[in-house]
């Protein structure tokens, strides 16, 4: 962050000012809602990209999202715990489950890991649907909105600021990792598995760090999601949701660990709305977008912008 040039700093300040005053700039409540969803999703995508850095291709991000959402919703509705305790507890519970799952699956080869993650996301939905104590197929409803004292985060603008704060916190957690020695080890594993292993990097340990951290932040995001909508059902967290996460990551740019996911999520959420494409055509648009991106723009949107800038010099 400190070694940036002035134009880049100004750009960053501009982006932060825009995001900070967004509810005042955009008065359309529906667009603010889109930005809230994009913010929640970008936390998940940041975790996904971090797992991609160590070459763990996971397709059950929505499962951890659902774990966070369900644990927060159950703590809030069954035990009447305040939201401000539910949020960290949801993250800790999800991180703990990620730790147990990781001990079982992280050691397996990448292809087995990928397949198991697909299977896990189906199991999660099926198991939740069959346990009536956790709401069954009807899910959980009437989850309270967060509140400080008598102030309830009811308006879209106030919830937007809550989401922005959490996204920034989660991004800073990962920035901290990337700056430290752990991040260097992650990059080494991503660039050459065999070389990293031969210089004595404990691959299992670093993969577990990514897996648990991503589980923790995804759980936090899930908790906020549950309290935003007020009701959750198991089908929301199935494979159909999980497959969109890598699409966001590819469109933003896989080499950009923080900005890529944020930009990708905003694009995927906002562009179909701005172009007024009907609901039916949105998955087709996304599918076409990912094929075009991976065939022709492998560095994603940010990579294309960066290349344009160097060419114009």
């Amino acid at each position: 962050m400190l070694s940036l040039t002035w134009p880049k700093r100004l750009l960053l300040i501009g982006i932060f000012l825009f995001l900070g005053f967004l509810p005042f700039i955009i008065t359309n409540q529906y667009l603010v809602h889109i930005f809230i969803l994009a913010g929640l999703e970008s936390i998940v995508v940041i975790g996904f990209v971090a797992q991609y850095q160590v070459r763990l291709l996971t397709f059950c991000t929505a499962t951890f999202w659902g774990l966070g959402a369900y644990s927060s919703a159950l703590l809030s509705t069954q035990l009447n715990i305040d939201f401000w305790f539910c949020l960290p507890l949801a993250g800790i519970i999800t991180g703990f489950i990620a730790l147990i799952m990781g001990l079982l699956v992280v050691r397996a080869g990448w292809i087995t890991f990928l397949m198991i993650s697909v299977v896990m996301s189906e199991v999660f939905v099926e198991a939740l649907g069959h346990i009536s104590a956790l709401g069954g197929w009807d899910g959980i409803s009437r989850i309270a909105r967060p509140a400080i004292g008598s102030y309830v985060f009811f308006s879209k603008a106030s919830y937007y600021y809550l989401t922005l704060t959490l996204t920034t916190v989660c991004a800073l957690i990962f920035v901290g990792f990337y700056k430290s020695a752990i991040g260097k080890a992650w990059r080494a594993i991503g660039q050459s598995y065999d070389l990293a292993e031969s210089v004595g990097i404990n691959i299992f340990k670093y993969r577990m760090i990514v897996y648990v951290t991503a589980g923790f932040t995804t759980g936090l995001s899930g908790s906020l999601f549950a309290h935003y909508f007020g009701f959750i059902v198991p089908q929301q967290f199935g494979i159909a949701r999980s497959v969109y996460i890598p699409i966001n990551a590819v469109i933003g740019g896989l080499d950009f660990a923080i900005s890529g996911p944020v930009v990708g999520s905003i694009i995927i959420r906002a562009i179909p709305e701005l172009l007024r494409i009907a609901d039916k055509y949105q998955p087709i648009f996304e599918g076409a977008m990912i094929i075009l991106c991976s065939l022709f723009f492998r560095k994603g949107v940010i990579g294309v912008l960066a290349r344009l800038r160097t060419r114009s010099r």
Binding site: L104, A108, W110, V119, Y193, A240, K280, A288, I290, L295
Partner: protein, 288 residues
């Protein structure tokens, strides 16, 4: 439990299992030989069902429809290979992401064209006959027998000279190309056969189920489970585990209701813990 119920359950299990065998062996052939992960394989199955259903409605004889469905999907696999797998061969993640996108386009394109409804395709084989005390429906028997025929044809093909070359490429790609096998062509052959198997499986099963754009998703989970347990690239394992899972689902569904999926997943988790590479599998060298 009467003996009659027992035989019916076995027949149902064989119907499900033979279908799983076809899809899973197509996937494992593509993955084992060309080492590309086709996430849209389940949607190829769905497309095969629709091609077959459309031809039946046009009045084409069933055996011709079945062959045309297989050929169409083989062509589709060939196009997919040249459009997606070949240019992105160096990057595993991008192929997976691209095939996800392909699946989204296929499913939602069909939903836009025909709408999200179930289409009932009439069965060609109607009626039933009685064997001892059990009544056997001709439709179920025909599904099992046609699947058996397709698998026998595949077995015959794999024992030919080209089939041996395919097997050699599966085991060791470099050694195979040193022996003068054109591995690039073998990859194309594998993806054509694998996609055609998915299409034929969908075409056989569509009279038993109904044709709908979302029918690729449940089968995707199922064949991934089978391939994980059997080991990647093992056709023998896919046949045995596919039939076993069909029987398990049939029996569990009868006695415990809709817990069948969960039971199978628990089974998968146990086997994964004991043998992470699958029962008949071995570790591939390709890393990402």
């Amino acid at each position: 439990m009467g003996l009659e119920v027992f035989f019916q359950l076995i027949l149902n299990g064989l119907v499900l299992g033979s279908n799983y065998v076809l899809v899973a062996s197509g996937f494992t052939l593509v993955y084992g030989t060309a080492k590309v992960f086709n996430f849209a394989h389940g949607h190829f199955y769905m497309l095969g069902a629709f091609v077959y259903g459309g031809l039946i409605f046009l009045g084409v004889p069933w055996i011709l429809s079945l062959i045309i469905a297989g050929f169409t999907l083989g062509l589709f696999g060939l196009i997919t290979w040249h459009a997606i797998f070949k240019p992105l061969y160096f990057d595993v993640f991008l192929t997976v992401a691209c095939t996800i996108g392909l699946g989204l386009i296929m499913v939602n394109g069909l939903i836009v064209v025909i709408g999200e409804k179930d289409i009932i395709v009439p069965s060609i084989f109607k009626g039933s006959f009685t064997l001892g005390t059990t009544t056997i429906s001709l439709e179920k028997l025909s599904i099992v027998l046609i699947s058996l025929g397709v698998m026998l044809a595949l077995h015959r093909f794999l024992n030919s000279k080209i089939g041996k070359a395919l097997e050699a490429t599966t085991v060791d790609q470099e050694a195979a190309s040193l022996q003068g096998i054109n591995t690039g062509r073998i990859f194309v052959l594998a993806i054509i056969i694998g996609s055609a198997l998915a299409g034929i499986a969908g075409a056989i099963m569509v009279t038993y189920l109904t044709a709908q754009p979302n029918m690729g998703f449940p089968i995707t989970t199922m064949f991934l489970c089978i391939v994980v347990v059997a080991g990647h690239g093992s056709l023998k394992g896919a046949v045995i585990i596919g039939l076993l899972f069909g029987l398990v689902r049939s029996f569990v569904f009868h006695y415990l209701g809709t817990w069948d999926y969960v039971i199978i997943m628990v089974l998968v988790a146990v086997i994964m813990y004991i043998r992470p590479w699958g029962i008949w599998g071995f570790e591939f060298r390709r890393r990402i």
